[in-house]
């Protein structure tokens, strides 16, 4: 996945714990952990909206596009031009 989630960085900057953020956003801690460790395959606008609201940030502060080399057998998720 070429989209990196910088949730841990934002959490440290705002000085709150993941447990506290999970409670405020209304999702479980394991789900937030999935997001933080870049294992998530997608994020709902509702979740993104709540995280941005609680961390007082923009989606661009949380999500970052990282260009990476594809390994053998890995699918290219990028749309063709």
């Amino acid at each position: 996945m070429a989209i990196r989630v910088n949730l841990d960085l934002m959490v440290v900057r705002r000085g709150i714990t993941l447990t506290e953020l999970a409670e405020r956003v209304g999702i479980t801690l394991p789900n937030l952990s999935v997001l933080k460790t870049n294992k998530a395959r997608g994020i709902r606008f509702r979740t993104l909206n709540a995280i941005c609201r609680e961390l007082d940030c923009q989606p661009g502060d949380l999500l970052e596009y990282v260009k990476e080399e594809l390994t053998d057998g890995e699918e290219n998720d990028e749309p063709e031009a």
Binding site: I27, L32, V34, L35, A40, R41, G42, I43, R44, T47
Partner: protein, 212 residues
């Protein structure tokens, strides 16, 4: 919040049937094993009843039932074809029991393994672990098992019958040879198709689980 799984009653019924089948199969194997050893004691005879599938050649079968049509304008040339049946006879000694088990063991193995896979699959579905990789593997294995049984068991049955005929010295008995069993082969292919769809379902489930 838990969502209701559609067709839960049917799944539960299938699980009950698989459970009953499982215990009947286990009971049947134990009973068959016990009878193998106790039969001479119970009956006082060392003869063992066996049964083989035979097919009567068409030219012979036509003499078994002589038919004439009263009105040849309506129907003519009636003939009896494709006559099949079971030839029963009693065979002496322990060797006959061993020959019976040559066919019984693979058959029981297929039944037990098939029912085990079906029970595990249905248990997981009832436990809401529906689209799991394990269930997809179980379905694939079940499909190949049914296809394998559809091809191997009729051939094994033929081999078993031929051995019995040879042991009994009943040369010239026309054995019935079925290349494959339609009853398990086609369901096996259908189960493999379902297994492929299930694997896609597993991917969708993982996608859904990893969307936060």
């Amino acid at each position: 919040m838990t969502t209701a799984i559609p067709g839960r009653r049917v799944t539960r019924l299938a699980k009950v049937l698989a459970d009953v089948g499982w215990w009947l199969a286990i009971g049947g194997i134990v009973l068959a094993l016990a009878l193998s050893f106790l039969w001479p004691v119970i009956t006082g005879s060392r003869y063992w009843g066996v049964e083989i599938h035979v097919s009567i050649p068409d030219e012979t079968a036509q003499h078994l039932l002589l038919l004439t049509s009263p009105d040849t304008l309506i129907a003519r040339h009636p003939s009896l074809n494709g006559v099949e049946g079971n030839l029963r006879f009693e065979l002496f000694g322990v060797r006959s029991i061993l020959l019976e088990w040559i066919f019984a063991l693979p058959f029981f193995a297929v039944v037990v393994l098939g029912l085990f896979l079906a029970r595990s699959f249905l248990r997981d579905v009832l436990g809401r672990q529906v689209f799991s990789a394990t269930n997809a593997r179980r379905l694939t294995l079940l499909g190949w098992l049914l296809i394998g049984a559809g091809v191997a068991l009729p051939l094994l049955d033929f081999l078993h019958s031929a051995l019995l005929i040879k042991t009994a010295g009943l040369e010239g008995v026309p054995l019935s040879l079925r290349i494959w069993s339609f009853g398990t082969f086609v369901p096996g292919i259908l189960v493999l198709v379902v297994a492929a769809a299930w694997r896609y379902g597993v991917e969708l489930q993982q996608d859904r689980d990893l969307v936060v």
